[in-house]
Symmetry: C2
Subunit: 402 residues, 2 copies
């Protein structure tokens, strides 16, 4: 393995340009606003539905690139972000008897609600979009809207989830599902970063709570991260309790690393690296074919998810960020070796040399199983966020090299 930091940085930089160009070219709906997200291998739109997670994520990503990277400070990117934000504000919230803040999961091309999920995730990405857009445009109303929706979200998660619309059933035990505190911690970071003490103070307790909720997923005497635990942090019975999602754990890992750096919490940093970065890589890496499994069962049973052994793009994106962040914070060479190892697999298998952007779904042995570039759950988010964050970290490492 003869990779260097420069090589990686240069490849990542080029790749980010290609990916941004792909979405700028193919995903904008200039008639109804918002973004097409079902985009085939060569850029063809194969379905006009607009998935709200992906609308919010694309607005966020455009704004972040525009705001923090000189070469993306292009008017077309800002205009696209604003148009996407306007589409979101106009169409994604669906009135309900219990809340003015519930968002749809999926909209028609012209913005009519098709489906609502009884979870918080559409709302999470709405918040990310609004907050980041407010930073670019200086529009305080959007920031206020993001914080108001955050208040509703926190209420659903911490106080009363009935507004989400799930019927209460006697056998449906309340669960601490890792996605929820992870997303909330990500939002706390989003809402508070570089903002004044008042905002920081407002979300301090929530941030602590999220970390504590995430840490509950360390189970089996510290040997495993489990995706679902009980509300008091005990292991749940059955498949649900034994489920592992290495990509999710790795993503939580870099959220925790980011948080521990802000707080100067070295103990948390060590836990994040050992338990949420190293451990999921150890148990999630496919020793035979390479790549990270999508799901695993901690006791070695076969997961019931049909796609458990597939290699998805996003866990690899999260792993790259996690290991490079862990290395940046510690300078331990073995963490950089891991980064290079994951980098090799990722860049050998996911990018599409022919039409640009990345394939999302490979078989266990690395063949392309689904060849589209965008789908109901793959948009302009994990790939560019990974490339963006890695480019910045590599720039920083290279600039500060002895």
């Amino acid at each position: 393995m003869s990779l260097s930091l420069e090589e990686c940085r240069d490849r990542i930089r080029t790749e980010l340009d290609t990916v941004v160009d792909f979405w700028l070219k193919h995903s904008h709906d200039t008639v109804h606003g918002g973004f097409f997200t079902c985009i085939g291998r060569d850029g063809t739109v194969y379905d006009e539905l607009k998935y709200v997670w992906l609308q919010g994520r694309q607005v966020w990503m455009y704004c972040r690139l525009y705001r923090t990277m000189d070469r993306f400070q292009r008017p077309e990117i800002l205009e696209a972000a604003k148009a996407g934000g306007a589409f979101l504000r106009r169409f994604s919230r669906v009135s309900s008897s219990t809340s003015q803040w519930k968002c749809a999961f999926c909209l028609t091309r012209d913005g009519k609600a098709v489906k609502i999920q009884r979870t918080i995730f559409s709302e999470c990405f709405y918040i990310m979009a609004m907050d980041e857009l407010s930073r670019v445009t200086g529009d305080k109303d959007m920031q206020v809207e993001a914080e108001q929706m955050m208040e509703q979200l926190t209420h659903w998660v911490q106080v009363d989830s009935s507004g989400l619309g799930r019927p209460k059933l006697p056998g449906d035990i309340p669960t601490n599902s890792m996605a929820v505190p992870m997303m909330l911690l990500c939002l706390v970071h989003q809402l508070t970063q570089d903002r004044g003490q008042e905002v920081v103070q407002k979300y301090r307790e929530l941030g602590r709570w999220c970390v504590q909720q995430i840490l509950q997923h360390i189970q089996r005497d510290g040997t495993a991260i489990l995706e679902n635990v009980s509300l008091n942090g005990a292991e749940l019975r059955g498949c649900q309790g034994r489920l592992q999602n290495p990509g999710h754990a790795l993503e939580a890992g870099w959220f925790l690393l980011q948080y521990s750096a802000e707080q100067g919490d070295d103990e948390l940093k060590t836990t994040a690296i050992n338990k949420f970065v190293e451990l999921p890589y150890q148990c999630g890496w496919d020793k035979e074919h390479g790549g990270l499994f999508y799901f695993l069962d901690v006791d070695g049973h076969c997961p019931t998810q049909l796609e458990w052994s597939m290699k998805l793009w996003w866990p690899h994106c999260e792993a790259l960020i996690a290991f490079l962040m862990a290395y940046s914070q510690t300078k331990k060479p073995e963490l950089l070796d891991r980064f290079f190892h994951i980098y090799e697999y990722t860049f050998s298998n996911f990018p599409d040399a022919k039409s640009g952007e990345w394939f999302g779904y490979l078989t266990q042995d690395g063949k392309v199983a689904l060849d589209f570039k965008g789908g109901p759950f793959k948009g302009f988010f994990h790939v560019p966020r990974c490339l963006y964050m890695c480019e910045r970290m590599l720039d920083h490492l290279l600039a500060n090299r002895g």
Copy 2:
């Protein structure tokens, strides 16, 4: 290919015995009643949740075997069916404000509701179970209960679906999804077979309606069966409208063949064979690796279902029944050739020679992807129903051979 009808019949007969033994041995919950359905490769229960579809299906299958095949007229089978029926009646119905008939999708081991689907399928399998159990036990109450639930179901499908609990959304266009008329036609057959004219009469119109609804799925000038169409039989936009599910079409094929035989409707028989048996086989068979794809897009786009290219056990079960029934009704040798072709693939890939029963989920190239014998959607149903029906058809063909 040197297969003979005798060989197939003998193998199928042996296989049915093995499969029945597997579930008799591993799936009975003697403490709480009902059946475990999450059963690992070797018979180990890896999750205690009880999926209602599979509870109903297992009761139905035990009863059908007990009632119609001498060698399964064993007390342990009858007792298991009765115990399963008692569990279903006691626990599966969940009270709601709008209906006394809504069933849960999933229960805890001791019968507490964990999840409710906003569809009709748990109720469908409840009806199948109750009706067949009433035939074995002579319990008229169960028959009445089956018919009462059928009335509720028909109301949800034909008059007002609001009792299912799905919010009405402006972008969510009402759809004729093939599963619905298929299941209702299957239930009409179940409730009326060998029953008096009064019952037959009661469901005659519904049967006709189901057939007409199923035939709406013939699209593209008769060249494709599409899984979802509009309520007036037009093609829907996007992925949903282009979706093909060859196994489902084949299953609908033999439901239609059964119906056309009862009605003496030769035109329907021809349509069933050409459009619902031959066509899905032609477009659904993987020319490279063999086996039927799970999902396809009629325009050749990549389906968004991650499992689209996997080979599942049940489409192959349905294909075997469909081609053997088509051959039995027509004696056209090319239909028997197809049966043998599918038989070869199926019996070479799905049965587990080591621990018995069949694997359910193979990769596109035929490797076992998930090795359990029972899971949330695989129980004691498609495999034994296929073996049972094929054995009977083969017996009949062999007995009536010149």
